[in-house]
Amino acid sequence: MTTEVIMPQLGESVVEGTVTKWLRNQDDRIEEFEPLVEINTDKVDTEVPSPATGTVLKLFVAEGETVVAGTLLAVIGEPGEEVPEPPLAPSDGGVRDAPPAGRPDGELQSAPAPASFEAAAKVKVGDLGFISPVVARIAAEHNVDLTQVSGTGSGGRITKKDVLSYVEGGQAAPPWEEPGSGDLFRPTEEIFGAKEPARAAAGTLQPLDAVRTRIAEHMVRSKRTSAHVTTLMEADLGRVIAHRKTHKESFEREGAKLTLTAYFIAAAVEALKEVPLVNSSWSEEGIVLHKAANVGVAVSLGEAGLIVPVIKNAEQLSLLAIAKTVNDLGERARGHKLIPDEVQGGTFTITNHGISGSLLATPIINQPQCAILGVGLLQKRAVVIEGMSPSGEPQDSLAIRPMVYLTLTFDHRIIDGAIGDQFLGILVQRLQSWA
């Protein structure tokens, strides 16, 4: 009895992934639940465990190859067992038992057997179902976002008629509108431009992985979408540092490593509560105000790019709970063990670019959010403290304070400078008065 390892669907909208590394070779033994393969999707890197104990009989997908969910990745069984042929079309995701070998001989069928015909109709490409060549062509020619077309074919497939009546109904997307994401048939020119890729004369070409491609696409789209404006303030973190020093150990007893990031999140959440317009998204119908403050925190993965896990409902969390969540998400992000839903649904983002020494930066908004907070390097700086002598005379002094530059980059479509400054001011105030 062999067991097939199928490319799982790693999230609601995650329909394909890249096999980055096989952790077992062909003919290696593997225990059930032991990691078998590393998969990289446009959202996360993750490990897929073996669904069975046995020998890796065959690997069907090479490292670096990108496949849709449902694709046969490998077969686990006992040495000598026959390896089933990979199906031409991927079926639903998940792991399943090998189908019985062939159907019994006997009846000779004319034409293609209906069974195989139906199987072809069930081919899934993401949520759209099977996209036939002619549908893909018409969609490309008319810039149709196929996610907007309702299918009437077998299994809800979008037929030629469906896409044609959509086009004739004048509902085709204007050319500048965002193409449907995850759409395998999206013309690449829309993303990369039709021009030849620029290549230095004597350089080498570094292939794009899913993360790089995704980041590039997202950044350019965000720049094209939002009216980016950045405002800058600085904060004295003296009180935060003191608070952290006092509470570090008690937090540790609770199982949380208290980092400055937790303070920035907590302060941002309070500012979001006071200025709810910042916790929002632009839509053509109006500005969508989000109830929950889902705060994303950018985590660098070095050369492998970066990832933004999201702390969901941060407005309901204590500093301790925030710290614990940040620890957990950060660790799993670096271990490539996040699940896609943990990087989706953010309403506000914080990026701590100071970690790499940057004093101040103007990050790009994480679409479809309104704003992103950039946290610079924490640095002791000489600051003028305005004061008064006991006699009431102005008496300023020079002090050495732990200072940080904070930038708020916001979408000027949604808020104006005064609102942005109000938000950032509240955030700074909260940090400086931490108790």
Binding site: L108, Q109, S110, A111, P112, P114, F117, A120, A121, S132, P133, V134, V135, A136, R137, G153, S154, R157, T159, K160
Partner: protein, 328 residues
Amino acid sequence: MTEMTLIEGLRQAMDEELERDERVFIVGQDVGPRGGVFRATQGLYEKYGEDRVVDSPLAELSIIGIGIGTALYGMRPICEIQFADFIYPAFNQIVSEAARMCYRSGGEWIAPMVIRVPYGGGIGGGLYHSQSIEAFFAHVPGLKVVVPSTPYDAKGLLKSAVRDPNPVIFLEPKKGYRLIRGEVPEDEEVLVPIGPGRISREGTDLTLFAYGMMHHYAMEAAERVAQEGIDVEVVDLRTLKPVDRETVLASVAKTGKALIVHEDNLTGGYGAEIAAILAEEAFADLDAPVRRLAGPDVPAMPFSHPLQDWFMLDADKIADAIRELAAY
């Protein structure tokens, strides 16, 4: 206009060509006083005499050999093979001599001849009187392969075949000889060019490719599903070699779906050629997998009537395949 049967159309064509060109003559088993086993040549022996309607020995190799020899000599022979099932003894003559004559002699010698072949089953003929042979000959460069499905096309294509400078395999759906009736004009010459297919029913949902007897079942099936709201375009290919690629591609560009129907068994059958043309040249027009509905891959047409029905395609089976493809 006169309504006539398929075989009457064929007979008229031969009559007119014998009349028109004295180089034309008929050779085959029992084609003379007997008028042929299907009476296709009835009356022609009496009208044109034993030099122009020639009874041959019971040897297909010899019928085709006579045809090739007289064609090289300048005659225009019409060779009748009594049943397609009996053509194999002459296979070597047709494939190695007739088909290649022009090419191997650098155009110095040609073999203009028509080989009339009643083919197909559904007539209780069993193993030796039911076969479909088009795939063998459609494969051979140097031959033309023609299959009429109506009396008009039968007459017009046979006359064109007689005048064609190439050897033409002229396949006659014998089940339809007396079953199929149609209008043929009396007062004008009927000539149908070899090559073009014919859109015999316009539709938008899918294209049904057929020829010979299957074309009639295809039309019947198309009418039946029309009542269910499925709008089928039917193309009567008429000439299998050279096939009318333009019509094939234009129709599928319109409908996005193709169903190819033939009575001959599936594997290596003529439908594969149409499917391959579509895969190569119409890929971006396809909205569904190209489908073939064909006879089963068994060695022979069964003699038993229920088994013959199982083997043969009919309007029911075609309608089912249409419904399945339309729903895709």
